[in-house]
């Protein structure tokens, strides 16, 4: 393991039990992601991209194998510890309905901060500043359902970054958007993440992302294939 590795995945296996039958998604995956790397994950629908991201974030525990982020082995942690780990170290962007509908845009951004510390005026300024950069200055107090899908995704990206996590996991962040909007969202993600020097794994079908990625994998026959 190099000191550079942000994420180390060893011998990761996962299967689901479905109506009595064991359904294996992956077996014995290995992968190393360096700090600041942008990894893109391709794969057919149902190949296990979401499952993989859930394993990396500790949302879902694997059957066997290890997920090590910043030297911490997630599979050795309890559910509670993994939750606390996520709070501090991981940012998420999902395909849609990322935001808490009953919180305003600003509150959605403040929530991850509040989970790790006391919110100060400085935090509020930080949120306002970030949103201003995304051209949301006048929509701080809007509720998510007043925003378009693309706008929601941009807010979701801001939320994933606001608490300064080490790793960003994005699961088809443009899946629900039209081509143009999708492109904009991807570019935003790319610039923000690159600028902050964050490690990112993104699952997507979008080909636009190829130019931005450092490395590209796809899940094929229950294992990772580098492209």
């Amino acid at each position: 393991m190099t000191t550079e590795a942000a994420i180390t995945i060893q011998q990761l296996s996962k299967s689901y039990q479905e109506s009595g039958r064991q359904h294996e998604i992956f077996s014995k995956l290995d992968m190393q992601v360096r700090r600041g790397e942008f990894i893109v994950l391709f794969g057919r629908s149902g190949s296990g991209k979401s499952t993989f991201l859930n394993l990396v974030s500790g949302i879902d525990p694997p059957d066997r194998g290890k997920v090590i982020i910043n030297g911490i082995n997630l599979t050795g942690l309890t559910e509670h510890e993994r939750t606390l780990f996520r709070r501090h170290h991981i940012g998420f962007v999902f395909q849609s309905y990322n935001l808490i509908p009953t919180l305003t845009v600003a509150e959605n951004l403040l929530l991850p901060l509040e989970l790790i510390k006391r919110i100060t005026v400085k935090d509020k300024d930080k949120v306002a500043g970030l949103l201003a950069r995304l051209n949301f200055a006048d929509r701080l107090d809007s509720y998510p359902d007043r925003l378009s899908g693309g706008e929601q995704q941009r807010v979701a990206i801001a939320r994933a970054l606001i608490h300064d996590p080490d790793v960003i996991l994005a699961d088809e962040p443009t899946g629900n958007l039209d081509l143009d909007t999708g492109k904009q969202v991807l570019e935003l993600l790319d610039t923000l993440v690159k600028k902050a020097g964050k490690t990112m794994i993104m699952a997507t079908h979008s080909q636009e992302v190829i130019g931005m990625a450092d490395r590209i994998f796809s899940i094929h026959n229950r294992s990772l294939v580098s492209r």
Partner: protein, 849 residues
């Protein structure tokens, strides 16, 4: 309808077994409560009627007398002088079989010779030859009796066994000479606590020498003139009534009680309807995608509507069937409570078992299915409006329901105003009074979502800045999903408001009665002289006892009362005959300004005072004259006072003993009040008095009477409290079901919260925060609603039901209890959904949408 269509949606239902089960529970409990009350009430009354038929048989009329009974010579006169053939004398009263059991039995003495023509129920069960053997033996052997096989078994008696019966303080040995074999459940009921003897034996056992309890008359339809013939020879204290009108008047007497009970049953059903509505809305809304797809492939609106109604119908049938089974079981329990209450406040009925009639079951079925279909109409219509193209998001649905809530707010104001108007402008109708409570409750329920939204906004405004982002969620979630939370809060609010209303009413009533008792119990000790007032020796004994009491050195003075009946307007009216002294006169609380000469007029002139319920039921005002039937014909008595009395809801008259003795024969006393000289040791005096009285007479201090009366008061409300808990249980189920639906609908949202680092414990806390808030909101809103309900109960329903007025006593504890009830119920209902959500794996939660 195509079976694939059915299957498409039914598969969905099976994925929500919880919701289905809860909807069925809602229907079942609502139906159960309604029919259990109906069954128990009807069984009690039917038992009473059947018991009457046991010995009256084909009798169409009956001659009954007030206290003192009928002279048996009346019977001879009717038969011999008037030549009326189809009449039969009866001497009957309750007796104790002290050696065998605590139960009391009804002893009926008949004339075996004529009895056959009456074809009483007990005879029909027997083989003809057996009956005549029994009758001959009853006649020829003194001190013999018949009882049912079942009773004999219960009492461990066999044919030719002797047993002791006790009436008043007389004891007598009787011999069992025959066992009656009832051939069906009804007659078994009737015979269960019956002893049949020859009339002479009965008179001896009961001490009714030369007296009869009643004379049964079988009236030939072709000879109506016989009625007039009988009327001519009837003494002043006797009345000829038809057996139908007697059972009718019994029903009339318990009508108010019965209506109030049934209203409580309907309340449960109303709360149950909220539950059904909530479930069906959930099941419809969750299927909006499916329904949209069905519409897209060509399923018509009508088909969708039928589909939803069909499902509801299925649920209704299952729920109703379970409800009926449950209702019969519950009725068994209620039967005891109801007959106890009827015993305590109306008339004596024997405990019986539950009788279930197809009509009552039919009523239950109609109610269950009707209520379900009514509750399901709105979601069924909503389903037909789902667009085939665009699937509405949850928030779009919510904004649609916001519009509805505004409309509901306006309707609610109309309902509340209408309810108030109905309450006060519906004359004397009890049903309309209760209907107004339903309107009010429903109005408040429709206002609940608005109130909830307002409260949540207020909470945020007040506490938002201190709460942090996470803790802003509970009030926000309540507002955001108001179409669910609002219904749960409304159902809970109704149940709690009903509880608060009833508690305030019962509390006010209790306070009023307590004050009345304290005011009217003026004597130091009370001697009660129970027993049949027909016998001359009892009257003599009463007088002797009173003289002895007056001679005791520590006794300063006495008062006395006789409770009896006098005929007015062709019915018996209860009359209390008083001998009052300076102290006891102060015990009357008049409902109007009283002149100085009232007591003077009470003693000297032909006057009566009447109780408040009597004045209410008979529309009596001061100065009016009441005609009372005396031996010399009808005499007018002027009403000079109306006084508070909570001892019975039919009300009665009161007159001075002086007045009474002038027109009616002496009947002894029912009670004597003893006023001790200052400084007397009351305990010692009580002991002294106790030695003077017989076994069934008793001496009680004013405290003891107060205590016993208050206990009786509490007892009459046991049934009310039981029923109230049942509707609270249904409300609880409603909240539970709504919360389950709610948590299910926001699985995805909770998944996101978990993904960004919210722990299961925090999630649980959030959900408890939300349910607790819902409970508090329901509780808070139930306070004004409950007060309005109490107000209408006290000043409209109870006054109309029983004719008495009481003061409104506000008790803050009732409010705290109501709040706590709502809060705790909601928290409890939240436990399972909270745990379930906390346990849901975030990965799975995120897969849903």
């Amino acid at each position: 309808m195509s079976s694939i269509l059915d299957r498409a949606s039914r598969n969905f239902l099976w994925q929500h077994p919880w919701q289905l089960a809860l909807a069925i529970v809602g229907i079942a409990l609502g139906v159960a409560v309604v029919i259990s009350i109906d069954l128990a009430m009807e069984s009690s009354l039917t038992a009473f009627e059947q018991a009457g038929k046991a010995f009256s048989g084909t009798a169409t009329h009956r001659i009954i007398a007030g206290d003192g009974g009928l002279d048996e010579r009346l019977y001879t006169r009717l038969r011999v002088e008037q030549g009326i053939q189809k009449i039969a004398p009866v001497a009957s009263a309750y007796v104790q079989l002290t050696e065998q059991t605590e139960e009391s039995f009804r002893l009926i003495g008949i004339d075996p010779l004529i009895e056959k023509s009456l074809q009483a129920v007990w005879q029909q069960q027997q083989k003809a030859n057996k009956t005549s053997v029994f009758l001959t033996r009853l006649l020829s052997e003194p001190n013999t009796a018949l009882m049912s096989e079942q009773s004999a078994q219960r009492l461990h008696l066999k044919i030719n066994d002797d047993f002791t019966v006790m009436a008043d303080s007389r004891e007598q040995r009787l011999k069992v000479i025959g066992l009656l074999a009832p051939d069906n459940a009804v007659s078994e009921q009737v015979l269960a606590r019956l002893l049949i003897t020859d009339i002479a034996t009965a008179q001896e056992v009961l001490g009714l020498f030369g007296r009869l309890s009643s004379i049964e008359v079988v009236l030939d339809k072709n000879r109506p003139e016989i009625l007039a013939q009988i009327g001519k020879v009837l003494p002043a204290n006797a009345l000829l009534i038809s057996t139908d009108s007697q059972s009718q008047s019994m029903r009339e007497m318990t009508r108010a009680f019965s209506i109030n009970l049934k209203a409580m049953g309907l309340l449960s059903l109303l709360v149950g309807m909220f539950l059904i509505y909530n479930t069906m809305t959930f099941l419809v809304v969750q299927r909006r995608r499916l329904i949209g797809s069905l519409r897209a492939i060509g399923v018509t609106r009508r088909q969708i509507f039928k589909l939803i109604i069909g499902e509801a119908f299925l649920l209704a049938i299952i729920g109703t069937l379970i409800g009926i089974a449950l209702g019969i079981a519950l009725g068994q329990g209620l039967l005891y409570l109801i007959s106890e209450t009827i015993n305590a406040i109306y008339f004596r009925i024997d405990t019986t078992s539950l009788m279930v009639s197809p009509v009552q079951i039919g009523k239950g079925v109609l109610l269950g299915i009707g209520a379900t279909l009514l509750a399901v109409l709105p979601p069924a219509f909503e389903a037909t409006r789902f667009s085939p193209v665009t699937v509405l998001t949850r928030s779009q649905l919510e904004s649609g329901s916001r519009r509805l809530i505004k409309v509901a707010g306006l309707i609610s104001l109309v309902l509340i105003a209408g309810g108030m108007a109905l309450a006060f402008f519906s004359g004397k109708s009890i049903s309309l009074g209760l209907a107004s409570i339903f309107l009010l409750l429903f109005g408040f329920a429709l206002l609940t979502p608005n109130f909830t939204l307002l409260s949540m906004r207020l909470i945020e405004r007040l506490f938002g800045r201190f709460l942090g982002i996470l803790w802003r969620l509970p009030p926000r979630m309540i507002s955001a999903e108001i179409s669910r939370t609002g219904i749960a809060i409304a159902a809970l609010m109704i149940a709690v408001a009903a509880t608060i209303g009833m508690d305030l009413m019962i509390g006010s009533f209790r306070q009023t009665v307590a004050q009345w008792l304290q005011a009217s119990l003026r004597a130091d000790l009370y001697v009660s002289l129970p027993g049949e007032k027909m016998t001359a020796d009892k009257i003599l004994a009463d007088h002797r006892l009173k003289e002895k009491l007056a001679e005791l050195p520590n006794v300063q003075m006495l008062s006395s009362v006789l409770h009896t009946k006098i005929i007015t307007d062709d019915e018996f009216t209860k009359v209390s005959v008083f001998e009052l002294n300076a102290k006891s006169k102060k015990g009357f609380i008049f409902k109007h300004k009283v002149g100085d000469d009232l007591w003077n007029r009470f003693e000297q002139r032909q006057t009566v005072i009447v109780t408040e319920p009597y004045a209410y039921h008979h529309d009596i005002s001061i100065g009016q004259k009441i005609l009372l039937q005396t031996a010399q014909g009808n005499e007018p008595f002027e009403v000079i006072g109306i006084y508070a009395d909570y001892s019975g809801d039919q009300g009665h008259l009161a007159m001075s003993r002086h007045n009474f003795q002038h027109y009616w024969s002496d009947l002894g006393y029912s009670g004597i009040g003893v006023y001790a000289k200052d400084g007397t040791d009351l305990q010692q005096l009580e002991n002294q008095l106790s030695k003077l009285v017989t076994a069934e007479q008793s001496v009680k201090s004013d405290r003891a009477i107060y205590k016993a009366s208050m206990e009786m008061f509490e007892q009459t409300f046991t049934i009310t409290e039981t029923l109230r808990w049942l509707s609270a249980a249904i409300a609880f189920t409603g909240v539970f079901s709504a919360l389950m639906a709610l948590q299910f609908e926001r699985t995805r949202q909770l998944g996101i919260l978990r993904a960004i680092g919210i722990t299961p414990r925090q999630l649980t806390a959030l959900i408890f925060g939300e349910t607790g808030l819902m409970g508090l909101t329901a509780g808070l809103f139930a306070i004004p609603a409950g007060n309005v309900v109490a107000y209408v109960l006290i000043f409209v329903v109870y006054q109309r039901s029983f004719g008495w007025t009481m003061a409104f006593y506000f008790n803050p504890w009732v409010i705290y209890q109501g709040l706590a009830l709502a809060f705790i119920a909601a928290l409890f209902a939240g436990i399972f959904p909270a745990l379930k959500m906390a346990k849901t794996k975030p990965a799975e939660a995120l897969r849903t949408e």
